[in-house]
Amino acid sequence: MTPGPRPEPGDFEIARDATYYRASDALRERIDASLDEEGRARRRPMLRRGLALAAAFVAVGVMSWNLALLQASPSRDEMFAREVLAAHVRSLMSPGRQYDVESSDQHTVKPWFAGKLDFTPPVRDLAADGYPLAGGRLDYVDGRTVAELTYRRRLHAVSLFVWPESRDPDSAAKSRTLNGYSLATWRKGGVRFWAVTDAAPAELSRFVELLEAG
C-alpha cells in the first residue's frame, strides 16, 4: 500500500484550509431583535422619517412652543425640555454632525471644548458601566452655547447637555418623558445637566445615578 501524498509546506489552499465562520443562532436573534426595535423607532413620527420632515416638525414644534409661551407661559423647565429634545433630535438627524469631536476618551473630548465655551464641562467616560462616551459637540440652548456630550447605551444615544448655572443651589434629578423620549435634569456644583435619550426611562435613571454619584 502506497502512502498518500503528504501535504507539504506551502501546499495550502485558503478556501479549503481557512475556517469560514458562520453566524450563531444567538447573533441571528440579536439582530432580529435590534431590527424590530429600529422598525419601531422608524415608525415614531419625529424620528428618521426623512430629515426634512423631521426638521420641519422640530421647527414647527419650537415655533408653536414660542407661540404657546406668549399665551400660557409654562415653566422654564418645560421650555428647556423642549429645547434640549430638539437639540438631541437635531444631532441624531445629521450623520456628519452628530459629533464635532468623536472620541471615547474623556481626555480628548474635554480639552476640545476649551476655548469654545466660557466654562469647562465635566466629562466622564462611563464605559465600565455600559454607557461609553462617544463624542461631544456644541449646541445652542436658551440663547447660549452649551456643551453636548453623547454617550451610547447599546444602540441608543444619550445626549447630555451641560451649562453653568452658578447662582443656584444643587437640585436632585427630575425626570419626565416628552414625545416618547426620556429626559432628566439636575443641578450640581453650579452646573445644569439635561439628559435626553430614546432609550427606556430606566436606562436614563441609571445614567443619571452614575453621574450624580461621580
Binding site: 501535504p7 507539504e8 509546506p9 481557512a18 469560514y20 447573533l27 429600529e38
Partner: protein
C-alpha cells in the same frame, strides 16, 4: 415604510458572509458579533442606498466600515494605512494547488494541523491583505466587488492578493520549520 419590508429577504441571507468578514477582521467571536449587529442596524437605516445593486457587497462594505471603526478604537495598530507602492508585483508561482484528499489517517491529521496553521497565519496577516484574501478565497468575490468593498482600485486588489498569498506562504513555512 415600503421598502423596509424587503430588508430581511434581501440582506439576511448574507449574515454568514457578514459574520465571516467581521470575524476575520476582529479575530474573535464576541467582537465580531457586536460589529455585525451594529452593521445590520446601519444597513437597515441606509437600506434606501442599496437600490437595485447586489446586497452582498453593499452589506460587506458596511460591515467593513463598522469593523474599521471598531479597530481604530480598540486596535489602532491594526489599521495603519498600507503603502501600496511598496507592493511590487512579483511573478509568483500559483500557490495553493490542492492536495488530493486522502483517508490515510496520517494525512487527515496533517490536514487538520494544516487548517490550524493556515488559520493562524491568515489571522496574523496585516488587515489589508487579510481582508482581500478572505473576500476572494472564502467569499469567492470578483476583483471588482472586492475593489468596491475595500475602496481600492482593482489593480491594488490584485497586487494585495498576490502579496498576501506570498506573505501567507512565508509565514506558513516559518511556522512549519519552527514546529519541526
Amino acid at each position: 415604510m415600503g421598502r423596509h419590508s424587503d430588508f430581511a429577504p434581501s440582506v439576511m441571507p448574507h449574515l454568514d458572509a457578514a459574520f465571516n468578514l467581521a470575524r476575520w477582521l476582529t479575530r474573535n467571536d464576541h467582537d465580531a458579533e457586536d460589529v455585525v449587529q451594529e452593521a445590520f442596524v446601519r444597513a437597515y437605516r441606509f437600506f434606501d442606498s442599496l437600490k437595485d445593486s447586489d446586497a452582498r457587497p453593499w452589506l460587506l462594505a458596511i460591515v467593513r466600515n463598522t469593523a474599521y471603526t471598531w479597530l481604530r478604537k480598540n486596535r489602532p495598530a491594526d489599521v495603519v494605512p498600507l503603502d501600496d507602492t511598496s507592493l511590487i508585483p512579483e511573478d509568483m508561482p500559483t500557490l495553493g494547488h490542492s492536495a488530493p484528499s486522502d483517508s490515510n489517517p496520517e494525512v487527515v491529521l496533517l490536514q487538520s494541523a494544516n487548517r490550524k496553521l493556515v488559520n493562524q497565519a491568515l489571522e496574523d496577516l496585516p488587515v489589508p491583505f487579510r481582508e482581500v484574501l478572505v473576500m476572494r478565497e472564502l467569499e469567492d468575490m470578483s476583483y471588482k466587488e472586492i475593489a468596491a468593498v475595500a475602496e481600492i482600485p482593482i489593480g491594488t486588489v490584485m497586487s494585495r492578493l498576490s502579496r498576501g498569498r506570498e506573505l501567507l506562504r512565508q509565514a506558513l513555512e516559518l511556522r512549519l520549520r519552527r514546529a519541526s
